[in-house]
């Protein structure tokens, strides 16, 4: 296993997340896709952290921070989605176009 394989895995996962954000209509699915992107970041951070042999383990610790913050982010995101769902009975982001132009 070389670091390149992790890099490629991360890049693929990240692209998958971006793709999901662009094509999924359900707000929850968009949220999940963003989580996928963050997971890709974590893979990268941990892989580079190990590769560099950093005694401070910066990469690993950074990944922990990302996971924590991502949890908070999901909490708030789901709350907003629920709010939208209550007001409109739908979580389809394509119906959110009251404000445009």
């Amino acid at each position: 296993m070389t670091v390149n394989q992790f890099l490629i895995l991360g890049a693929l996962l990240f692209s998958l997340g971006v793709y999901g954000v662009l094509v999924r209509r359900n707000a929850v699915a968009v949220l999940l896709s963003i989580e996928l992107m963050l997971a890709a970041v974590n893979i990268n951070l941990v892989a580079f952290g190990s590769l560099l042999g950093d005694t401070l383990h910066t990469g690993h610790i950074f990944a922990l921070f990302v996971i924590t913050v991502a949890a908070a982010e999901v909490g708030i995101g789901l709350a907003i989605v629920i709010l939208i769902f209550r007001n409109r009975s739908s979580a389809n982001v394509d119906e959110l176009d009251l404000m445009k132009w």
Binding site: L7, G10, F14, G17, V21, A27, V30, L31, I34, M37, L38, A40, V41, N44, L45, F48, L52, D54, L56, T58, G59, I61, F62, F65, V66, V69, A72, E73, I76, G77, A79, I80, V81, L83, I84, N87, R88, V93, L96, L98, M99, K100, W101
Partner: protein, 488 residues
């Protein structure tokens, strides 16, 4: 100093966080009247401002000191950000006071979120490590996502909130990926010190800088999104228009200050060695922002949306200062500080005219404001003239300063584009002024005889007007002072 764990270095954040905890505890325990919230919030912000002032006095002009294992920077730059962000949060709270008070018990949450956003914004400016920068960014952004949708029952605001959240989270993920790549290329996430990114970039010749450069690009995307620079500005008009009137001012002002503080430190202090790579990109972003913002503002019929596009153009003007690298940071601060006050003032008037819960503020609401509420109209006129860059307002002095910085950096073409946009921009600022003074309200339109303005909003407008005029007529003392606010 590098490893020292002194709490004084993060004292402003601690003060704000303590105020938030205290506020929520007091709220849950005693269910006090609204003035008690004001006391706690005011104490927290005052403490934060005072601590920043102390840091400013002690550290201005000196080398950046880092604490907590190179996590937190203490320097003039961070102190100045505190001196700007905390009073701005105070003014934002005053401007939104009626909105907060009208939310019943949730008002305390509203105030807590503003304080958290302020703490996050300061952390973004004081971060000396990408981990800290990321945490500051998220604390700041998450608070704003919630604030944008604070009036839960209004679908406009919900939509603004979700759009802001989804796109913001998306941009954060892109930013993080950039950080991961920079970490891969340099082996560090710390900015300063031995083995820090700045040190590594200055001392190492990188033969295959692809990973680093890709990281730079994605970093830039994430931060450009926060400051709403084109083409990453798409969220701003929808969010500014949909967010409750009372919130938009703080949202617009704080997002600019925090985003540019982070951008300035990362670009000039950390990536200064790669300036040849990022300066042209920033110049193009600046040009795109002024052009797109101006062109789209011209065709808007809603004042809040118009101000949103104008804020895209202003992001471009501020980026213009950054093409000069470190030499332009003082000018950037000047423009940023004066613009933040102007935009807060303008949205405060918008909240008074169209209601502080309402999202939209169509031009029809503004017809004849000059007669219905002469002082409001006068304040708005001054803010608009300042944003348009009319001489003897702070906006003009700011434009001269950033243009000068860019000319010195050899970016004459950018300045010419920006000047032409400035000229064209007058058209849309003028449209609002014309509506206020020369148009009559439509028949049958139900408008309040004289828009409701609370004392807090009045104070905000007085401060904004005074600052705009004083720094327009005599900007030099401030510009001189801001020289010390460099990230080193």
């Amino acid at each position: 100093m590098n490893g020292s764990l002194t709490f004084l270095s993060v004292a402003p954040e601690i003060a704000l966080a303590a105020a938030v905890v205290l506020l929520l505890l007091v709220e849950v325990t005693f269910k006090p009247r609204a003035w008690a919230w004001a006391v706690v919030a005011g104490a927290g912000l005052a403490a934060g401002t005072a601590l920043s002032a102390w840091q400013w006095v002690a550290h201005r002009g000196a080398d950046t000191g880092t604490f907590w294992n190179g996590m937190i920077a203490v320097d003039g730059f961070a102190a100045l950000a505190g001196l700007l962000v905390f009073p701005l949060a105070g003014l934002g709270l005053m401007s939104a006071w009626r909105l907060a008070a009208s939310q019943g018990r949730r008002g305390a949450e509203f105030i807590a979120l503003v304080l958290l956003a302020a703490a996050g914004a300061h952390l973004m400016a004081a971060a000396a490590d990408f981990i800290m920068l990321f945490i500051g960014l998220e604390v700041f952004s998450l608070s704003l996502y919630v604030l944008a949708g604070f009036t839960r029952e209004r679908v406009d605001a919900d939509e603004a909130s979700l759009k802001y959240f989804l796109l913001g989270a998306f941009a954060s993920a892109v930013f993080l990926y950039g950080v991961a790549l920079v970490f891969a290329a340099t082996g560090s996430t710390t900015f300063y010190g031995d083995g820090g990114i700045a040190d590594y970039l200055a001392g190492t010749v990188i033969f295959r800088p692809g990973v680093l450069l890709a990281g730079l690009a994605l970093l830039l995307v994430g931060l450009a999104f926060k400051v709403s620079a084109a083409p990453f500005h798409v969220w701003a008009p929808d969010v500014y228009q949909g967010a409750p009137g009372g919130v938009t001012g703080f949202l617009a002002a704080a997002a600019k200050v925090a985003g540019f503080a982070a951008l300035a430190r990362v670009l000039t202090a950390v990536l200064g060695a790669r300036a040849d790579d990022w300066v042209p990109a920033v110049a193009v972003l600046a040009a795109a922002s002024v052009v797109v913002g101006t062109l789209l503002a011209i065709v808007q019929d809603d004042v809040k949306r118009l101000l949103a596009y104008s804020s895209v153009a202003h992001a471009g003007f501020i980026l213009t200062a950054l093409v000069a690298g470190r030499g332009g940071v003082g000018d950037m601060w000047f423009y940023l500080a004066t613009y933040a006050v102007q935009v807060l003032g303008a949205f405060t008037v918008a909240a008074a005219v169209s209601g502080d819960r309402a999202g939209r503020s169509p031009l029809a609401h503004w017809a004849g404001l000059g007669r219905r509420a002469p002082w409001l109209a006068a304040a708005m006129t001054l803010m608009l003239l300042a944003m348009a860059g009319i001489p003897l307002t702070a906006g003009f002095a700011g434009k001269v300063a950033v243009f000068r910085a860019a000319i010195d950096a050899g970016y004459l073409w950018l300045v010419i584009v920006a000047v032409l946009a400035t000229v064209a921009g007058l058209f849309f600022y003028l449209r609002v002024i014309v509506a206020m003074y020369l148009a009559s309200p439509e028949e049958g339109a139900s408008l309040p005889a004289s828009p409701a303005v609370g004392w807090g909003a009045r104070f905000v407008l007085a401060v904004a007007a005074a600052a705009t005029l004083v720094f327009g007529i005599a900007p030099w003392p401030l510009l001189e002072v801001l020289r010390d606010a460099l990230p080193l």
